[in-house]
């Protein structure tokens, strides 16, 4: 039984289409990865860092980053942390069920522009999800990049996303993957501390490094401080911003951040653009 969607005349473009849930896989105690098949396969094309608006029938619509491989065709993958009503409904969908999607929306990580450079990826918590498509793309074109460094922080070992993949990536040549947790517990033999503590284990080459950061704003601010200390220019630092979003197309006004609409001017911004705004409280 497949979903039928018709072209309505929606006041919120682009029109919503339905997508069939193919699988829902548990990543951690509160985070799940959904794979969906949009009824129009061309809607599955996206660039790393972009997001969709996902609609759960009768519950609501919410912005979720695409976390899958941009090379895959016809499918979209999302990693969702269940924190409230809408995300909870989303992770509780069953294979075969349909959700509504609009998008993809927004700017993307400058993965192509980073060719010839080292790529440093710094993620906190669910922030690894929107960065995974960038990692997939880099690994697919591995010769175009020099080193790939992934620094990942989570609250505790049970909150670490994509653990198996992280350790696989870490075994690849010229690739350094370090994870840390705020609270370790007895069985944890890895790093303990906030993600910035990992900087002492990596050597950065300013001017030849592109940094991509996603996580809570406070974490991003500390990471940027470390990068500045190490001489990375603003234009080589990129971050993903989160704001309330109702429309994703610049109409609802909810996602404003200084002069920007995060939905269409972002979510990925260079630090050159974000520098004047990032430390403004209640902006």
């Amino acid at each position: 039984m497949s979903a039928i969607a018709e072209t309505a005349a929606p006041p919120m473009p682009p029109r919503m289409i339905t997508a069939r849930v193919v699988s829902v896989v548990k990543e951690t105690h509160d985070t799940f990865t959904l794979t969906v098949e949009p009824e129009s396969p061309e809607c599955a094309n996206f660039s790393p860092g972009q997001f969709s608006m996902l609609y759960v029938y009768g519950v609501g619509e919410l912005p979720i980053s695409i976390s899958g491989d941009p090379h895959d065709t016809g499918r979209l993958v999302y990693t969702v942390r269940s924190v409230g009503k809408a995300t909870n409904a989303l992770v509780n969908t069953k294979p075969g069920q349909s959700i509504g999607i609009r998008g993809p929306f927004g700017t993307s990580w400058p993965v192509d522009e980073a060719r010839g450079n080292d790529v440093l990826i710094v993620a906190g918590g669910i922030g690894l999800a929107p960065l995974r498509p960038a990692i997939y793309r880099i690994l697919r074109n591995r010769d175009d990049y020099v080193r790939l460094i992934v620094l990942y922080g989570a609250r505790s070992p049970k909150d670490l996303l994509y653990r198996k993949q992280l350790s696989e990536w870490g075994r690849l040549p010229d690739t350094q993957v370090l994870s840390t947790v705020d609270y370790g517990g007895v069985n944890w033999r890895g790093y303990v501390g906030v993600v910035t503590t990992l900087f002492r284990y990596v050597r950065l080459h300013p001017g030849r490094t592109t940094a991509l950061i996603c996580g809570p704003e406070i974490m991003m601010r500390y990471v940027i401080r470390e990068l500045e200390k190490r001489g990375l220019p603003d234009s080589d630092i990129h971050l993903s911003m989160e704001r309330n979003m109702k429309c994703a197309v610049g109409f609802c006004g909810h996602c404003q951040l200084g002069p920007y609409f995060v939905c269409k001017d972002g979510p990925i911004f260079s630090y050159t653009k974000m520098r004047p705004w990032l430390d403004k409280h209640e902006l």
Partner: protein, 379 residues
């Protein structure tokens, strides 16, 4: 009736009694004519059929936090200035159905709904309101995405402007460069001459559609002194304006004064009631609400006007970005006079004065902006 249509840009004269004929001509063409009416002690906008529906002989008194209708000494139809509502109510309605879906086993269907074809004719659009419509056009039609509902309503709309011959108590359109003369963007523009030589209107034709409608009603070519009289009446309104905003460099003034102590002072008076955003003809923010029937077989999504002053507006998981009233007021004013410039290449304010009139805290944005420049109000 004249055989040839009046040319675009030409000036004609219609008598007071021809207003009903004008409304009827538009209705015959399938327009729903929306115009000013007196309702609940204010001039509001509603469907009108004849001149008697209009606020004939009414004027208004406006000050910060103050609005009162007043009888005029003459029979002027447009002797009031702007009321609490703007045309955004029709072009960008307070509630719009976004989506209707029907459950279909474990899936759902998005129902196809023909868009409601409304053709509005707006009677009495002031110059500042034409400017506000241009701003909404930029937001909904001039960016990456086009809002199809707005597009349909906007393209079908017939605009009859009215030049202001009296400034409202809170207006500052002259300083915003938006009025009081309606320069373009209308089909017809009226200047009311309620004078001794008979109550009449000088009509400027702004489009071919306007010419065609005017051609259907009793009109004659305007005499030169009538055109001059109309011009003088509009100049008079410009001369009456008591408020002004110095827009020179105001974008940077606001962005550079994020920590100005004045924000705390205005926050102490602001009730965060959202009135200013509701009455503002350019504030366009919306939220979305989901509704389902009891059985859950049908779900709808509605788009509704929202305001940057509400609690949930900036909510992201973990809490609102803008918790304090100070940050919300700052967002509003900074959006209007700074961010809007980056986003849309224009200010988000046309100087209509509504937010001043309808603020229960008697906050006057022209004063706040002056204070941001370090110039405190003398009063």
């Amino acid at each position: 009736m004249s055989a040839t249509l009046p040319a675009t840009g030409s000036q004609s004269v219609i008598e007071f009694s021809a207003l009903t004929a004008l409304i009827s001509a538009l209705r015959r063409r399938g327009y729903e004519v929306i115009g000013p009416v007196v309702r609940d002690g204010a001039v509001t906008l509603e469907a009108v059929e004849k001149v008697e529906d209009l606020p004939v002989g009414w004027g208004d008194e406006q000050e910060s936090g103050h609005y009162r209708l007043k009888r005029r000494e003459d029979n002027a139809v447009f002797g009031y200035t702007v009321g609490p509502q703007g045309w955004k109510r029709f072009l960008h309605p307070p509630e719009v159905p976004l989506l209707e879906a029907q459950r279909d086993n474990s899936s759902f269907r998005i129902l196809k709904k023909p868009p409601a074809p409304v053709r509005y004719a707006f009677l009495g659009v002031r110059a500042c309101e034409l400017a506000a419509i241009r701003i909404l056009d930029r937001v909904f039609l001039g960016d990456r995405y086009v809002e199809p509902g707005y597009k349909g309503r906007r393209e079908a709309a017939f605009l009859i402007a009215v030049n202001c011959t009296k400034a409202g108590g809170t207006c500052f359109c002259t300083s915003m460069g938006t009025g009081p003369r309606a320069a373009s963007g209308f089909d017809l523009a009226l200047t009311e001459l309620p004078g001794r030589e008979g109550h009449r209107f000088v009509v400027e034709v702004g489009s071919e559609a306007g010419a065609a409608v005017l051609g259907e009603i009793e009109h004659r070519k305007a005499r030169e002194e009538e055109v001059r009289e109309a011009q003088a009446a509009v100049d008079n309104a410009a001369g009456q304006m008591r408020r002004a905003v110095d827009t020179e460099g105001i974008r940077d003034v606001l962005f550079d004064n994020f920590e100005h102590p004045r924000w705390d002072r205005v926050a102490a008076r602001c009730l965060s009631c959202a009135n200013c955003t509701m009455v503002c003809p350019t504030c366009f923010c919306t939220t979305v609400e989901d509704v389902t029937d009891i059985a859950g077989d049908r779900a709808e999504r509605w788009r509704k006007w929202d305001s940057c002053f509400t609690d949930g507006f900036s909510y992201i998981h973990g809490g609102s970005v803008r918790l304090s009233v100070k940050s919300r007021y700052r967002q509003w004013l900074t959006h209007k006079f700074a961010a809007w410039v980056d986003q849309f290449g224009t200010f988000g304010c046309v100087g209509c004065g509504r937010c001043i009139t309808w603020c229960p805290g008697r906050i006057d944005i022209t004063e706040e902006l002056r204070a941001m420049r370090g110039v405190e109000a003398s009063a």
